[in-house]
């Protein structure tokens, strides 16, 4: 079988995924319409799950889809209830918020780029599809041994969020009733 054709398709698929992710991220930031933002974010996250697929882990890709698109984006969707109707004029962006956003994005970008540059990347031996390294067992083992602390801290964040939601809802209900 002609492998150069296959390689070309894989390369093309990779760059399409890159384009999808970046355009999704742009849609998530620039339009002044909250539903466009959410859908753009969903598109970007679907693109990221495409990267996981490209790296050979279907499991992580599907989890990305289930958690980030299925749960996080849907949770953000509740912000729709705070959004303006289509026919109402949109007020201009406030400059302070824009600069804060740019600052936060720059800090994150420098951090991520620093990690990416410092990592000693090794070309994957053989073909890109090597699912055995990223099997469910291996991920589970890594999460509960080496990355146990990170795992627990993330759970703690979720716990704080839940308690916060309960308290906020409880207070507002008591005030209104």
């Amino acid at each position: 079988m002609d492998t150069s054709g296959l390689n070309f398709i894989l390369q093309a698929a990779f760059w399409v995924t890159v384009a999808l992710t970046i355009s999704g991220a742009a849609i998530a930031v620039f339009p002044r319409n909250i539903l466009y933002n959410v859908l753009g974010l969903a598109l970007a996250l679907i693109g990221v799950s495409g990267f996981y697929l490209y790296l050979g882990s279907l499991f992580v890709a599907l989890m990305q889809l289930l958690i980030y698109v299925g749960a996080i984006c849907i949770a953000i969707v509740f912000a729709i209830m705070l959004s303006r109707p289509l026919h109402v004029d949109i007020p201009p962006r406030s400059a302070g918020k824009v600069w804060l956003g740019i600052l936060a994005a720059t800090v994150f970008f420098i951090g991520a780029a620093g990690v990416a540059l410092k990592t000693n990347w090794q070309a994957a031996a053989g073909h890109v599809y090597k699912a055995s390294q990223w099997s469910v067992q291996n991920i589970g083992n890594a999460l509960l041994t080496r990355y146990e602390l990170v795992f627990e801290v993330i759970s703690l964040v979720l716990l704080v969020a839940i308690i916060g939601a309960v308290i906020t809802a409880g207070f507002s209900r008591r005030i209104s009733s």
């Binding site: 079988m1 054709g5 296959l6 398709i9 539903l35 466009y36 859908l39 969903a42 279907l58 499991f59 599907l62 989890m63 889809l65 289930l66 698109v69 299925g70 749960a71 984006c73 849907i74 949770a75 969707v77 509740f78 729709i80 209830m81 109707p85 289509l86 026919h87 073909h127 890109v128 599809y129 469910v136």
Partner: protein, 327 residues
């Protein structure tokens, strides 16, 4: 896998998707007819009778009429999203067909993570419903869409927890593996609570009565698809009935033994017929429920999920984990 990507495997995928697409359309036509017949007989009337014997061609005629109708765009609607939504609602439904195990050889792509794939893509349906409801710029459509999101968030949790208890039992996310293990005993006998929770949550996930508040016709006109006409509406309908099929097919393979006969007795009937028979029987049960129970109120719906279904499914999961650990 990489060698066959464009060869045999790729061909199989494309052929499978084409067959799945045609099956989905025929299935939807049949189910709409069945729904009208079931509702008719439950209400002591014959249902459609005019077109074809016992009205079997009624839905084909309706579909042709829908295709011929004009697509009406509401004046202040968001044009792009308005037309994107019906397409978006249909894609995840088709992905589900990729991994459904109709019989030992009759599965488009037998992958290790089939169960996860179906549920990962099913969430996109909610985004599509929301997009459609919001883009219509109609208050009934938006209310229906927002209700749909809240309902899906609430019922996805017990649904996944019920499925998790099966996964925990068999240590596998592959549909065909799960079905093979049910050769003698269906998992509904080992996990009756999980099965019940799955069926209730699945009814809610497919927006079927008594959980059809996103499109409650007595209060919201038609919910999120109020403004859709012609094939835009047709695609929503197609997606709803295909979704019903997929949900019931997943239930068949997770709880009712898939292509296996009852207690290992297959009576010489091919597996695919067992599978389809059980799936359509479950669909019939869901229709039966729709025409028998009244619609629940929104607060009842939310309370039922968060205060009954989720605790029960969590307890079920913990008990399953303990039992699996002991055995």
């Amino acid at each position: 896998m990489s060698e066959g990507l464009l060869g045999f495997e790729g061909f199989r995928l494309i052929l499978g998707m084409v067959i799945a697409l045609s099956f989905a359309s025929v299935n939807a036509l049949f189910l709409v007819w069945l729904e009208r017949k079931v509702s008719g007989h439950i209400q002591l009337r014959p249902g459609p009778m005019e077109v074809g014997p016992h009205g079997v061609l009624q839905t084909a005629a309706d579909a042709l009429k829908l295709i011929g109708k004009e697509l009406i765009l509401p004046l202040k609607a968001d044009k792009k999203l308005f037309f994107l939504a019906p397409v978006l609602v249909f894609t995840p439904v088709l992905v589900g067909f990729l991994v459904l195990p109709f019989s030992p050889g009759l599965i488009i792509h037998d992958m290790n993570l089939g169960v996860l794939l179906v549920f990962a893509f099913s969430t996109i349906t909610v985004l599509a419903i929301l997009t459609g409801g919001w883009a219509s710029n109609n208050k009934y459509a938006l209310l229906g869409a927002v209700r749909s999101v809240a309902q899906n968030v609430a019922y996805e949790i017990p649904l996944l927890l019920a499925v998790m208890s099966i996964v925990l039992m068999v240590h596998s996310l592959s549909f065909s593996h799960i079905v093979v293990l049910q050769k003698n005993v269906w998992f509904v006998f080992l996990q009756p609570l999980a099965c019940l929770i799955y069926l209730i949550a699945a009814t809610a996930e497919t927006n079927r009565a008594p959980f059809d508040i996103p499109e409650a016709e007595s209060e919201l006109v038609a919910g999120f698809h109020t403004e859709y006409s012609g094939m835009g509406f047709g695609l929503y309908f197609l997606a709803e009935y295909t979704n019903m099929f997929i949900v019931c097919a997943v239930a068949t393979s997770l709880f009712f033994g898939g292509w296996n006969g009852l207690f290992g007795i297959s009576l010489g009937i091919p597996g695919v017929f067992w599978f389809l028979f059980k799936t359509y029987f479950l669909i019939f049960v869901i229709m039966w429920v729709r025409w028998t129970f009244p619609r629940v109120r929104f607060d009842q719906l939310m309370n039922f999920s968060w205060k009954v279904m989720i605790p029960l499914s969590l307890v079920n999961l913990v008990i399953t984990a303990i039992v699996v650990k002991i055995i």
